[in-house]
């Protein structure tokens, strides 16, 4: 029997040498069958390769191309002993402590194999949706309590219901894959590791609301995701899961990929719609809601990749099973992404409710540098910086809001004690200035004034007055901006100022980080 060896084709694995490992395996072990899977999301162990043995899959990592001959000599293809041998990946604490619903297949299956997808529970959600009919399938999503995983946290089912109830000749499903938040990579991982689940989720959405056309708007910084997802579309179409009669269910649906052009603000849903229409990615005033007048003026469901990729598991196993995970109004699981200066960085899918401290210290293992954790930014560049004093905050939409923060798309970026929080506040304003679409004044002009005020504080000019001015400016941005870019930039700025006031005390003789 030919042994299957899995080497991730995930961009992060490739970035640390997975392609070279794959090439070495092809050269030294031509008898093995190489599968380029997605990543399991244990990035400190990448490239993490796995071998299929009678005892289950055995992992080895982190593997460099130079290790391959030695691994083979030690019996890699039989899962033989070697210092890099990790045992069964499922038994590693980082994976064992997870609840993988959305990411059940990622890193396990061949992302281009429909047989693998079906063998691991694929299309069961679509089959059940078709059996239930559009209205009942939609109610399942409502009942699951699923909320938008892109950051805003709006109930997905309610959005769908609004579109379903709006009459129009043409409706659209738009998938927001413009994952621009630093510290996040879950959308990328799904598109590279389990692309059919996103296709299935979009097909179910189209079926439920009566839309026949879907667009995936993916950022240009993700060439691997674009390639893998594009291949998956071709394969799904050839197998009848896209087209005039989807899965013989008597309805039409197809998907087209559109590539962004490097504008962060296009992750905002209305700017994304303008960009899809071929315009500058400028934010629209709401109302009208995209559910009433979205893409090309038609009723449009616009959901994040993870929201849509979670729909198949909800339909397959029922709303109640999904809803039973989580706490309060945050139901189900969240793929949390541990990033930056963290020892065990990666994707950790778990039910809502784990505390920030558990995530950073226990799961993440503290910093990669070995120095103390000083701050973590949760929710991307528009998310607040949390000090250790707030590490008891449970990971939950409302709990983070109560602490003047947000969970956003689930990214946690860890910083050690060398971080200069005034510099981070300055960067938050600078980033807003670089990425502002220019439509509203607080964001367009306020961000540049914000950079200047923070720089004055850093130079020690009128520190008390400048801090008051910065607070006032943040209020203007927060309450006067049209969208979350200007509206949420105050979160990182004000949290840095509030929780780390010592970094805003005036000119400092910074001790150089050794």
């Amino acid at each position: 029997m030919t042994v299957r060896v899995f080497v991730p084709g995930d961009a992060a694995a490739v970035a640390v040498g997975a392609d070279a490992v794959a090439a070495a395996l092809t050269r030294h072990a031509p008898e093995a069958r190489l599968v380029r899977s997605g990543s399991r999301g244990l990035f400190w162990l990448e490239p993490l390769i796995e071998v299929e043995t009678p005892q289950g899959r055995i992992g080895f990592g982190p593997v460099a191309a130079e290790d391959v001959p030695g691994l083979l000599a030690a019996g890699l293809l039989d899962g033989g002993a070697h210092p890099l041998r990790l045992g069964r990946p499922e038994e590693l604490p980082f994976l064992k402590r997870q609840t993988r619903l959305t990411f059940a297949r990622c890193g396990i299956v061949d992302p281009r194999s429909l047989d693998d997808y079906r063998a691991h529970g694929g299309w069961k959600g679509l089959e059940r949706a078709i059996a239930l009919g559009p209205a009942t399938a939609l109610e399942e999503v409502v009942q699951s309590g699923l909320r938008g995983r892109g950051g805003a946290g709006f109930p997905t089912g309610i959005k769908w219901r609004t579109v379903a109830q709006t009459q129009a000749a043409q409706k659209y499903i738009v998938c927001n894959a413009d994952e621009g938040d630093s510290g996040t990579f879950s959308d990328r991982m799904v598109m590279e590791g389990d692309p059919f689940v996103l296709i299935e989720g979009m097909v179910i959405a189209g079926f439920a609301v009566g839309a026949t056309k879907g667009y995936v708007y993916v950022r240009s910084e993700y060439p691997h995701a674009i390639a893998t997802f594009g291949d998956a579309l071709t394969i799904a179409r050839a197998a009848g899961y896209l087209g005039a009669n989807v899965a013989d269910g008597g309805f039409a649906f197809d998907i087209e990929v559109r590539v962004g052009a490097g504008a962060y603000v296009c992750g905002e849903e209305t700017a994304l719609l303008d960009s899809l229409e071929g315009k500058r990615g400028q934010v629209r005033a709401k109302p009208p809601l995209p559910a009433h007048q979205g893409l090309f003026g038609q009723p449009t469901v616009i959901n994040n990749v993870i929201s849509l990729a979670t729909v198949p598991t909800i339909l397959a196993d029922g709303a109640a099973r999904y809803r039973d995970f989580g706490m309060g109004r945050s139901r189900g699981t969240m793929p949390i992404q541990l990033a930056g200066n963290v020892r065990h960085g990666g994707l950790f899918e778990t039910a809502f409710g784990m505390t920030l401290g558990e995530l950073v210290d226990d799961i993440g293992g503290g910093t990669a540098s070995g120095r103390p954790v000083r701050a973590v930014q949760v929710g991307g560049p528009l998310g607040a910086y949390f000090p250790r004093a707030l590490f008891d905050t449970p990971f939950d939409y409302e709990a983070f809001t109560a602490k003047d923060g947000l969970i956003g798309h689930g990214g946690i970026v860890v910083f050690d004690d060398t971080v200069d929080m005034a510099e981070q506040a300055r960067f938050a304003m600078e980033f807003c200035a670089i990425e502002s679409c220019g439509k509203c004044t607080p964001c367009r002009i306020g961000s540049t004034r914000g950079v200047e005020v923070v720089e004055r504080i850093m130079r020690g000019e009128n520190v008390a007055a400048s801090r008051a001015l910065l607070t006032d400016l943040c209020n203007t941005l927060k309450f006067g901006s049209l969208c979350a870019l200007g509206g949420f930039t105050p979160y990182p700025v004000m949290s840095a100022l509030t929780h780390f006031p010592e970094d805003f005390a005036g000119p400092r003789l910074r001790v150089a980080a050794e």
Binding site: A11, A15, G340
Partner: protein, 156 residues
């Protein structure tokens, strides 16, 4: 990286014809034009506007809005250094400063010999293998000054 072709109105017309009837065609069209010519030359604005029934100002507005679109060709190689928060926590600022010093350019500039353009990028989604970069479309993570040095050495 494929060398850009010199401006050729017939070649541009081919590309335009392929996209012009799709809804919201402008971004895919501009991406392909840039893929062929290495940038969106000023000469391209008028035929694109005419084909899509837009004003030249609208086309210019879109080209200038998005960071990806270039008005002039880049150097023979493009090095995009991630400068977003996750990479900041792993020292991307000092890494960028070293690259700037070594090549004698600032982020956003091209070396005098036209060999390398160095740019900032805000997130490549490689945030658990930071600091990260993309060199001519190839992703690299866990960068150190020595690794960047080695990458730059290999460039023709």
């Amino acid at each position: 990286m494929r060398a850009p072709e010199p401006w050729n109105p017939d070649r541009a017309a081919e590309v335009i014809a392929r996209h012009k009837d799709a809804p919201g065609a402008l971004l895919p069209l501009l991406h392909e034009l840039q893929g062929v010519f290495g940038c969106i030359p000023d000469e391209a604005v008028r035929p694109v506007a005419e084909a899509l029934n837009l004003s030249r100002a609208e086309v210019h507005g879109v080209v200038s809005f998005y960071h990806d679109f270039r008005r002039d060709p880049a150097g023979r190689h493009v090095l995009k250094l991630c400068q977003a928060e996750a990479c900041q926590s792993m020292g991307c600022r000092s890494l960028a400063a070293e690259v700037e010093q070594r090549l004698g350019v600032r982020l956003g500039e091209t070396t005098a010999d036209g060999r390398v353009t160095v740019e900032a990028v805000y997130c490549l989604g490689l945030c658990a293998t930071a600091p990260s970069a993309m060199l001519d479309g190839q992703v690299v993570g866990r960068l150190t000054p020595a690794r960047v040095e080695a990458l730059l050495e290999t460039l023709p």
